[in-house]
């Protein structure tokens, strides 16, 4: 606080050295909530200061740094370098289990590929929401196959290389058949109550699920 008085006294004779003035505007620009005009800086700084000149030095000093001195209208401010904007985001990654609708759809495609949407619906016993297919495509686990040469030429779906990679398969044909699943004990487990009434699953619930998912997924 006493320096204040000192500075004032000194300022009657001469302005602070330019390096000192640069420090001053650095502190002012840092601590001030709004961009500061040159006039405002001058008013705050000891008499005889030349903020305009000090600003030139300060701007130069911050060139290529993580923050820059920028001009905002008639005033100046310190701002994050544009290329570092990504640091102002904190990304949290959450891993979720694929929804039952999605995993079942995926399983049907894997076992029956190429497989049309109508076929998936027939096997699952419920309609397949667009969101489910979109999600699997976005995850790059399925892709469009050839159109079926039947009336309406429906599109088919097949699994991707990514799918095989993720599940550690050489080929979708390597997937164990029902008999093998049973032998491996995978069919012995009684279906959970949920499993039993899968066919009654309300479509709305499924769709809600997916709208939610879509929102999250679309973030960059």
């Amino acid at each position: 606080m006493s320096e204040h008085a000192d500075d004032k006294e000194e300022s009657l004779f001469e302005a602070p050295p330019m390096a000192e003035q640069e420090r001053m505007i650095e502190a002012i620009l840092f601590a001030t909530a709004e961009p500061v005009s040159v006039r405002d800086m001058q008013a705050r700084m000891p008499h005889g200061s030349e903020p305009k000149e000090a600003l030139v030095y300060l701007t130069k000093r911050y060139e290529g740094r993580g923050v820059h001195v920028v001009r905002v209208g008639d005033a100046y401010a310190i701002r994050t370098a544009p290329d570092l904007g990504f640091l102002m985001q904190k990304e949290t990654v959450e891993t979720r289990k694929l929804s039952r609708a999605a995993i079942e759809t995926l399983a049907i495609i894997a076992y029956h590929q190429p497989c049309t949407r109508a076929e998936i619906e027939e096997i699952r016993g419920v309609s397949v929401s667009r969101g489910t297919i979109d999600q699997l495509i976005e995850m790059e686990w399925i892709r469009f196959g050839r159109r079926r040469m039947t009336p309406g030429r429906p599109v088919t779906f097949v699994v991707t290389e990514n799918f095989l990679d993720h599940f550690g398969l050489e080929n979708a044909r390597d997937l164990p058949g029902l008999k093998e699943l049973r032998a491996a004990g995978l069919l012995e487990s009684r279906p959970a109550p949920m499993g039993a009434d899968a066919g009654d699953e309300p479509e709305d619930a499924e769709q809600d699920d997916l709208f939610e998912d879509d929102d999250v997924i679309e973030l960059p």
Partner: protein
Amino acid sequence: MADTGLFDAQDRETQDRVAERLAAEALIVDVDGFEGPLDVLLTLSRSQKVDLRKISVLHLAQQYLAFVEKAKQLRLELAADYLVMAAWLAFLKSRLLLPPDPTEDGPSGEELAAHLAFQLERLQGMRDAAARLMARDQMGRDFFARGVPETVERIKKVTYTATLLDLMQAYARIRTRDEFRPFVMDRDSVYTMEEALGRMRGLIGFAGEWTDINTWLPEGWGDDPVKRRSATAATFAASLELVKEGKAEIRQDETFAPVQVRRKD
């Protein structure tokens, strides 16, 4: 607060006495401004102008007692803790003045005095520390934080996973859905009461003697514990049913003893 720095006379003793009297009077005038007896003692101790470690506690006790005395003369109400301290210091004073009584246990006057001196020194130490703390450069007064903080945007990214097992189980679930009955239960090891009853009705006519119900279990149900438990329960329930119908009698000698049945004539 009383400050003895005003006095720089040459005659130490006169100076001390004057200071003491002035201090005591200042204290009384300002007694509300003190934070308890320890605060008063600390202020009084300053008149000794020595390191708090070398302070004369006896002298201090006398000063404090004089202060309380003066307050009484002025008919000033002193808070109870001031009087408690006065009583304690009077006790301490007598301990310090009298030769130690070997028959009396408890701390000596010196020990008590040393502790009081420690308390005063510690309080002074903390006050000095507080002053140094407050004299530091402080944020928002001497130095400043960023004026325009940017908010850090939180982005939640969700990734989905599934294992091969999930995939196969999902497929198995779909493909075998129709094979399951709506109510699935392991019937292989369940022996129903109806079955037991049917079996017993046919046999009870031949049971003239008391027989352990364990011997009534159907063939092949006695070895596997799960099956045995189910068959035993069913047979017991069926026995009770027969008793209720008046076709059999049932008995048990004591808790956990074998349950026996026989035909009722």
